[in-house]
Subunit: 340 residues, 3 copies
Amino acid sequence: MTLSELATQIGAQLQGTASNVMVTGIATLTRAGPQEISFFTNTLYREELAHTDAAAVILAPKDQHLSKVPVLLMENPYLGYARAAALFDNSAVPPPPGIHPTAWVSPHAMIEATVFVGAQAVIEAGAIIGRHVIIGPGCVIESGVRIGEETHLRANVTLCKGTQLGMRVLIHPGAVIGSDGFGLANDKGQWVKIPQLGGVDVGDEVEIGANTTIDKGSLGNTIIHRGVKLDNQIQIGHNVEIGEHTAIAGCVGIAGSTRIGRYCMIGGGVGIVGHIEIADRVQITGGSIVLQSIPEPGVYSSGTPLQLTPRWQRNYHRFKQLDELTRRVYTLEQLLESKQ
Amino acid sequence: MTLSELATQIGAQLQGTASNVMVTGIATLTRAGPQEISFFTNTLYREELAHTDAAAVILAPKDQHLSKVPVLLMENPYLGYARAAALFDNSAVPPPPGIHPTAWVSPHAMIEATVFVGAQAVIEAGAIIGRHVIIGPGCVIESGVRIGEETHLRANVTLCKGTQLGMRVLIHPGAVIGSDGFGLANDKGQWVKIPQLGGVDVGDEVEIGANTTIDKGSLGNTIIHRGVKLDNQIQIGHNVEIGEHTAIAGCVGIAGSTRIGRYCMIGGGVGIVGHIEIADRVQITGGSIVLQSIPEPGVYSSGTPLQLTPRWQRNYHRFKQLDELTRRVYTLEQLLESKQ
Amino acid sequence: MTLSELATQIGAQLQGTASNVMVTGIATLTRAGPQEISFFTNTLYREELAHTDAAAVILAPKDQHLSKVPVLLMENPYLGYARAAALFDNSAVPPPPGIHPTAWVSPHAMIEATVFVGAQAVIEAGAIIGRHVIIGPGCVIESGVRIGEETHLRANVTLCKGTQLGMRVLIHPGAVIGSDGFGLANDKGQWVKIPQLGGVDVGDEVEIGANTTIDKGSLGNTIIHRGVKLDNQIQIGHNVEIGEHTAIAGCVGIAGSTRIGRYCMIGGGVGIVGHIEIADRVQITGGSIVLQSIPEPGVYSSGTPLQLTPRWQRNYHRFKQLDELTRRVYTLEQLLESKQ
């Protein structure tokens, strides 16, 4: 591909070189060779940009002066990187349609002719699989599950009864969608299971990470709206609803019946209690614990700083008397005021 | 089913309607139609109760005056909901016994005639599977594993050597029981694996969530006593012991050799250090970190509040000097006292 | 095995008994019978040592006086325990080579004759599997994956395209290596996937726990250096690098592009933000959140103490005004100073 063709395909403006230079891949600023392009989005890498051997670098017009090599100008160079990486992604070629001889597909499943089903996969009765769907090896699709067109399940994904996926959904290995919610009633100290009668509704273009779990609703559905992006090892409880285009990083846990708005960004390891509402455009930084609704957009955090352990221990123990300390300060203030 | 039959089966007292009204399902107060029942357990939903179209609502006698529709009176209406949901649970019909033609069952496994083994499942030599057990598709049951009567494994569960399950256990997809504990000895900077020679002993009526992992004991067993309920993505280290009827929410991690009492409730995302003891009837709220034994029952918490990030950052940095701040207040107190 | 033979094999010095006493196993101090050995590494168990029935106890010379039974003296008795447990580990016998009839192995995979492939496993085209490798039942090895000699995958492991494992690697059930990193560019509110073009490079003698996930690099590889030990349910983001002989406990999350040094020890549930560097020989205690680089070795912590919830709530709320409180103390100090 020539630089000129690449510029056209990613929507960038090429400057500083002959447009017919050939490029064969994309790499970091440090590793890119003279037949590869790179990108610059973070001023931390200013030195690397100054010394890169790349054929051209995708960057924003405001950073153009930092580059000695040709540039591919875009207002959003990170988007340019995404588009360029897609052009060089060899794995993007879909497998030819067909059902692997070791897969087991129920004769009562409805599967379009253009579907690919991988080795050792299982598709139970009543499943409905749309056109150009890819089911990876070892996946289990339980009875009645519906999968929209061009959706792609990588290996060893489990879709339980009651799950419905939209179009162009991408699910990574080990994810479990539609497992039972954690519904229990207490009968004199012993737990009685509440049968989970709902399902999971996953919108178009949703991505779900490796070993992430999404429980079905108790009554009604757990809903993941279109464009939501979920990283690995996330746990989503029953009847949670996540608004469009919200992105959630790894190891987040969201307890039952919580509603999260649209265009939110939730950092890694965040824990969110059940039965609350989080507004649109809320950002929560990694490791925070959310115990109450967040009615306004903004960036939110909780937690304490990392310190050398002996020093931390002293502050840690003082936290136990923080309320008392505040009262002591108040007493001092009153005392001094009375003396004036 | 008539309302009268339903009342009898869930142990409620029907009031305010003809007993022969037919009902076909259960739904939330908002969604229930005139042929469905609903339930009311949380005063937050008082408005929804006032406007419900349900045929009848399960609720406590003290809340009877809030309902304009007929009622199913029970002291524990949430238990009534659990029982009613079970009556309407279509998925509760077990599959007919038999071994799926694509499953692989060792001729040296002992399997009762009433067992169901799903597609692509694996049962190794020496496994002993009790009556009416259901093994979901893609499960792997390693050699020597024992499974009690009426236990149900959903899809893609892995039971490693040394695992023993009681009766009526329910395990959700992706769970791994009996993986090696994290036992390492340090030999001049390098780690030497400690072979894990124990097993996992899971009692009757235990439920284990999707992608939860329970390690086998190093020497002796990890023990999950009867009636314990574990949500998704929980990690339980080697030689942990969890007492009867304790419930643990998602994403909890419990390090090795810790003992947790009976009737405990542990919130989502809690982390519990190894080699400690937690008494019976302890409750720990979500996101807490437990670094020491808890010898007394009660409700416990740790953590800091969520705030807008700029404001949080100021408090976060002050935490580093909390011990010093406490000393400064003490100095002020001494100074003022000396002046009086 | 005689005690004398055992002493030789674990590198201990036997004292206090005839060397030809036979032993058949290893157990805890409390449970060991007169034909079993035990070990003592923690002074908490001094009472148990005083009353043990073990044939002999592995312990350090400094603790020899605490034992009434014969001793196996070693400077590092925990290492002695590891070695002795290996001698009594019946499960250590590898399965005979061969491909299970229900496995599916592509004719375009390269597999040494000494490899074992378990039931229902899948090995795709272009995979290269070294000598004496064991692939457990239900594993999926995607195209082009390379596995070094004597590596052992337990059941239901997924290795995605771009993964390369060293020799003597051990991976527990449900682990996913080489899933896509969480790379997204934002295009006017909607997320555009950044194709993940790198891989995962896992060094020799690495151990990876059950349901742990390791993402492939975006460009270049995620690198787990030799001797690293990872517990269960860990999430490792794209382009993370973990130095030799670092051990990481369960439920840790490490965000993208972070570099962790050698000989580190990271406690359970720790969260580590992306794009930072952690020096060699850093220890982080369980439940800590790491938001900045750690340039110096040492032991580090964050978090607040567990308290009874009503008491915690008062301190929790005071945290919101910690900065203000500090300023109030400063004001008092200034006021008193001005008066002197």
